[in-house]
C-alpha cells in the first residue's frame, strides 16, 4: 500500500512539475513566476536577517514584538482549533467522511484493500501536504527567527502541530460515526463533550483575562518586558494545567535550542502517537461520508475555478424566494440585480454559518462583557470611541479595497453563462450595469453602516470645535452620496480584468496553483490598488481644492457640499465611461479564444 501511495504521489508530483515548467512558455505564467520569485527574493530572503540570538537593541525589541506576536498567533490558532473541534461535535455530519479525492475513491474503494489500509492511505496522503506546508510556513516566518531557534526546528514544530490537528479531526469524525452507529445515547455523548469543550474554553479564557488584568494594572517595569509577562502567564499553575494538551503540541515549535527541542519533541510525539492509535483503531464506517465529501470538494473546486464562491458549510443549496417581486416589464438591469441578490443570499448565508456566528458572539459577549464594562467604568465613557473609529475605518477601507474580491456575484459569477447572456436582446452596457448592481448595493450598504458609525464615534464629547452637528450631518450625507459610485468603480476593475484577460482571470480563481499563480494574483492585487488610487486621486484632489478655496467664503459645511458635487461629477463620469466600455468589451468577449 505504501509503495502504491509513494508511486502515486511521486509520479503525480513529477508530472505536475513538468507540466508547470512547460506552461512557462505562456507569458501569463512566465510573468507570474517572475513576479512571485522577485517577491520571495526581496521580501523573504533579501530582507531577512540571520536567525539566532538578538545582538542589538533593535533586534531585542523585534524579539519582544515577535514573541508577543507569536503568543497571539498561537492563542488564535488554539482558539480556531477548538472551534473546529467544537463544530464537529455540535454539527456532526450524517455520514462523517475522511478526505479522499474522487479518483482515489474510484480506484481504492473497490480495490482489495482493508479499511485500516485506507485510513493509513489517508493519513499518509495528508502527510505530503503537511510536510510541504510545514516547510513553507517555517520559511515564511523566518523573521520570527529573532526569537531564536533554527528554521528546521520551526518546520518540525509546525509538522507536529498540523499532524496532531489532522489526526484529532479525523479521530473525532470516526468517533462520532462510531457513536452514531453503536450508541443509543449519541445525543447525550455529544452534549457531554460539548459541555466539556465550552467549560474548558471558558476556564482558559477567564484565566487569560484575569492574567491580562494583572498585567494592565501591574507595575510599569513588567509592562515594558512582555516576554517576562508571557512567561508568567505560561507558567502560572492554573494556566499551565489548563493548556497542557496544547503545550505538548506547541512546545517543539517554541524550542530555541537543540536541548529544549529534544525535551519538547518526546512528549509531543507521544501525544501524536496516542492520536494515531485513536484514529487507526476506531472501527467506524466512513465510506459513504468520504464519497459525499469528495463530491463536495470536487464541486467546490469546480465552483472556485468558475469564479464563484464555494458554498460555506455542509448544507445543500436551497431554493429561496426572490429578494423582491420581479415584474415582467421594466429595465432589464433590475432583473440582473434580482438574480444576483438571490445568488448572494444563497451563497453566503447558510443557517448553520449564522448559528455559529450568533453562538460565538453570545459566548464572546458573556466572557468579555464583564471585563470591558470594568475597563469602561475605570476610564470614562470615551474609552471605546478611538477603538470604534479605528475598527470602523478599517472595515471601510477593506470594503473598498477587498470587497470587490469577495462580492463576486456579477459578470465574474456568470462567466460560465456568458454565452446565454449574450443571446439576450439587451445592450452590453446594460448587462454590465445590471450585473454590477448587486455587489455595488451590498458594498454600499456596508460602507453606509461604517460611515454612520464613524459619524457617531468621532469625537463624541464635542472637543473638536468646527465639528458642529450640522457639519457632522453634512459630511456624513456627502460621504454616503459618494459611496455607491466608489463601490461601482472599484467593482469595474476585476470585471474588466475578467473580460479583457479571461485566461489570466480564470487561472487566478482556482485554489491550486504554484508559484506562478501567486505571482498572477499579486499582479491583479497591485493593479486593483493602483486603479483605486488612479480613480481616487482626481476626485480627492478636486475635493481638497474646492474645500480649501471655498471654506473661507461659505464656511466648512457648504464647502463640503461643493466638494462632494465635484467628486460626484468626476466619479459619475468615470462610472459611466467604465460601464459603457465594459459593456462594449463584453459584447466582443469570446471565452473560446482562450482555448484556441
Amino acid at each position: 500500500m505504501l509503495g502504491a501511495l509513494l508511486y502515486l504521489r511521486l509520479t503525480s508530483f513529477r508530472n505536475l512539475v513538468v507540466h508547470r515548467i512547460k506552461r512557462l512558455r505562456q507569458p501569463k505564467y512566465l510573468i507570474g513566476t517572475a513576479v512571485a520569485l522577485a517577491y520571495f527574493y526581496f521580501i523573504l530572503i533579501h530582507r531577512s536577517g540571520p536567525a539566532g540570538s538578538p545582538s542589538s537593541v533593535a533586534a531585542q525589541s523585534m524579539a519582544q514584538a515577535g514573541l508577543v506576536a507569536a503568543a497571539f498567533i498561537c492563542a488564535g490558532l488554539c482558539v480556531l482549533a477548538l472551534v473546529r473541534i467544537a463544530f464537529l461535535w455540535v454539527f456532526p455530519a450524517e455520514n462523517p467522511g475522511l478526505r479522499f479525492t474522487e479518483p482515489e475513491i474510484a480506484f481504492l474503494f473497490p480495490a482489495p484493500v482493508s479499511r485500516k489500509s485506507l485510513i493509513h492511505f489517508r493519513l499518509l496522503s495528508a502527510q505530503f501536504a503537511i510536510l510541504f506546508t510545514s516547510v513553507l510556513i517555517a520559511f515564511f516566518f523566518n523573521r520570527a527567527g529573532y526569537l531564536g531557534g533554527h528554521r528546521a526546528i520551526r518546520a518540525v514544530g509546525w509538522w507536529v502541530i498540523l499532524s496532531t490537528f489532522d489526526l484529532h479531526v479525523n479521530g473525532t469524525k470516526l468517533t462520532l460515526s462510531r457513536l452514531r452507529e453503536t450508541s443509543h445515547r449519541f445525543l447525550l455523548w455529544r452534549l457531554a463533550v460539548i459541555a466539556a469543550i465550552v467549560g474548558y474554553a471558558t476556564a482558559v479564557f477567564r484565566s487569560s483575562i484575569h492574567l491580562v488584568n494583572e498585567y494592565m494594572n501591574g507595575p510599569e517595569a513588567l509592562r515594558s518586558t512582555p516576554e517576562v509577562f508571557i512567561h508568567q502567564i505560561l507558567y502560572s499553575p492554573l494556566f499551565f494545567w489548563l493548556t497542557l494538551p496544547f503545550r505538548f503540541v506547541l512546545a517543539p515549535y517554541f524550542a530555541t535550542t537543540a536541548g529544549d527541542f529534544a525535551l519538547a519533541i518526546v512528549p509531543a510525539l507521544l501525544f501524536l502517537g496516542l492520536h494515531y492509535y485513536w484514529v487507526s483503531n476506531t472501527e467506524a464506517r466512513f465510506e459513504e461520508g468520504s464519497i459525499a465529501l469528495a463530491e463536495k470538494l470536487a464541486a467546490a473546486k469546480a465552483a472556485t475555478q468558475r469564479g464563484e464562491m464555494p458554498k460555506l458549510g455542509n448544507s445543500k443549496r436551497k431554493a429561496l424566494a426572490g429578494p423582491f417581486p420581479l415584474s415582467p416589464s421594466g429595465p432589464p438591469e433590475i432583473a440582473f440585480l434580482w438574480k444576483n441578490l438571490l445568488s448572494m443570499r444563497s451563497a453566503l448565508f447558510s443557517r448553520r454559518a449564522l448559528l455559529v456566528l450568533v453562538m460565538l458572539a453570545l459566548w464572546g459577549s458573556m466572557a468579555l462583557g464583564p471585563l470591558l464594562s470594568r475597563q469602561a467604568r475605570a476610564n470614562g465613557s470615551d474609552y471605546y470611541s478611538p477603538a470604534i473609529v479605528g475598527f470602523t475605518a478599517m472595515i471601510a477601507v477593506y470594503t473598498v479595497l477587498l470587497g470587490p474580491q469577495v462580492a463576486r456575484q456579477d459578470l465574474r459569477g456568470d462567466l460560465q453563462n456568458a454565452d446565454i447572456l449574450k443571446t439576450y436582446p439587451v445592450e452590453g452596457w446594460r448587462i454590465a450595469l445590471g450585473e454590477l448592481l448587486a455587489p455595488t448595493l451590498v458594498l454600499t450598504l456596508i460602507l453606509w453602516l461604517a460611515i454612520v458609525m464613524l459619524a457617531a464615534a468621532v469625537d463624541p464629547v464635542g472637543k473638536v470645535e468646527w465639528l458642529t452637528p450640522g457639519v457632522r450631518i453634512t459630511v456624513t450625507l456627502c460621504l454616503a452620496a459618494s459611496a455607491p459610485f466608489l463601490c461601482l468603480i472599484q467593482l469595474l476593475v476585476p470585471n474588466t480584468a475578467m473580460v479583457l484577460f479571461p485566461g489570466w482571470y480564470q487561472a487566478t480563481r482556482g485554489r491550486a496553483g504554484g508559484i506562478e499563480m501567486i505571482g498572477q494574483r499579486m499582479i491583479f492585487g497591485i493593479l486593483q490598488l493602483l486603479f483605486a488610487l488612479l480613480v481616487a486621486v482626481p476626485a480627492a484632489g478636486a475635493a481638497a481644492l474646492v474645500v480649501f478655496s471655498s471654506q473661507w467664503i461659505f464656511g466648512i459645511g457648504p464647502a463640503v457640499v461643493l466638494a462632494t458635487l465635484a467628486v460626484l461629477a468626476i466619479m459619475v463620469s468615470e462610472a459611466v465611461v467604465g460601464v459603457w466600455w465594459l459593456g462594449e468589451r463584453f459584447e466582443r468577449f469570446d471565452l473560446s479564444t482562450e482555448s484556441k
Partner: protein, 257 residues
C-alpha cells in the same frame, strides 16, 4: 471535393440570411466565406467532422461571438447593426444546459420574461411547463433536476418569448430515448408553426428525420448546401437509396483533415 455552390434566392422572406460569414481566431480561420439562408418552416441541419466550425457558426449566428467579416440577418435585422432587435427573435440552445444554480425553475422563467419583456409570462409558462413535464419541479433548483430536466428548462426559457428563429447545438446530447423522441417532435412542431431552425448534430439519423435542408461543413468551409434530396443527388453518383451517412463520408472525404 468542393462542389460549386448554389446560393438560394429567398422567394419568401428569409428568417436567417448569412452572407460571406468568416470567423478568425488570430491566424486560425474557423469559418470562411459561408453563405446560406433559412426560410420559415425550414430546419437546416449543420453537419461536419469535429473541428469543422459548426459550433462557431452557430455562436456567430446567435450573436454570441462577433463575426470577423460578412453579415448575418435574423428576422430581417442585421445582427451587427441591430443586435438587440435581432436577438428578440432568436433562441439559442447550447449542447450543455447552462442554468443559474440559485434560481428555481419558476424563477428562471421570471428572469427570462423580464429580459425579453414577456408580459403575462405566468400564463405562457404554465402550459409550457406542463408540456415539458416540469410543473412539479417548478420550485426546485437546477441541482435537484436530472440532466434531461435541465435541458427541458433551457428549452422552456428559450421558448417563452416565442422565437421565430432557433439554433440548437447538439440538442440530443445526454437525453434518454424518450427525451430524444420528444425533442425531435418539438423541433418539427416548432418548424411547422413557422419557425426557422438551424441545428448542428453528429447524429445523422436525427437530421434525416427532422431536417428539410442540410449544410455540410469541412474545415470551416461549405462543402454542400441544399435540401436533403439535392445534397443526396450531388454525392450519390447516380446510385439510389444512398444514406446521409454515406453522403457525409463522401462529402467530407471520410476524415477530419
Amino acid at each position: 471535393m468542393v462542389l460549386p455552390l448554389r446560393p438560394r434566392a429567398c422567394t419568401v422572406p428569409c428568417m436567417i440570411e448569412v452572407q460571406s460569414l468568416a470567423k478568425r481566431y488570430g491566424a486560425f480561420t474557423a469559418v470562411r466565406d459561408l453563405s446560406f439562408s433559412v426560410r420559415p418552416g425550414e430546419v437546416l441541419g449543420l453537419v461536419g467532422p469535429n473541428g469543422a466550425g459548426k459550433t462557431t457558426t452557430l455562436r456567430c449566428l446567435a450573436g454570441i461571438i462577433p463575426v470577423t467579416s460578412g453579415s448575418v440577418q435574423v428576422a430581417g435585422h442585421d445582427l451587427l447593426t441591430e443586435p438587440v432587435e435581432a436577438k428578440r427573435h432568436l433562441a439559442f440552445f447550447a449542447d450543455e444546459p447552462r442554468l443559474f444554480e440559485y434560481l428555481t425553475v419558476r424563477q428562471h422563467l421570471a428572469f427570462v420574461a423580464r429580459i425579453y419583456g414577456v408580459r403575462d409570462h405566468e400564463a405562457l409558462a404554465r402550459p409550457l411547463l406542463e408540456e415539458l413535464e416540469l410543473s412539479e419541479k417548478a420550485d426546485e433548483l437546477p441541482s435537484e433536476l436530472s440532466r434531461g430536466m435541465k435541458q427541458k428548462l433551457v428549452i422552456a426559457c428559450g421558448l417563452l418569448h416565442s422565437p421565430s428563429v432557433m439554433f440548437f447545438d447538439e440538442p440530443l446530447t445526454g437525453l434518454d430515448p424518450l427525451g430524444i423522441r420528444r425533442m425531435k417532435d418539438s423541433i418539427v412542431r416548432r418548424a411547422q408553426a413557422g419557425a426557422a431552425i438551424v441545428l448542428s448534430s453528429h447524429l445523422l439519423h436525427l437530421l434525416e428525420e427532422v431536417c428539410t435542408n442540410v449544410l455540410i461543413l469541412k474545415k470551416g468551409e461549405k462543402v454542400a448546401d441544399g435540401t436533403l434530396a439535392d445534397v443526396s443527388a450531388q454525392f450519390s453518383n447516380g446510385e439510389t437509396g444512398v444514406s446521409l451517412e454515406e453522403i457525409f463520408i463522401r462529402a467530407t472525404g471520410g476524415s477530419e483533415t
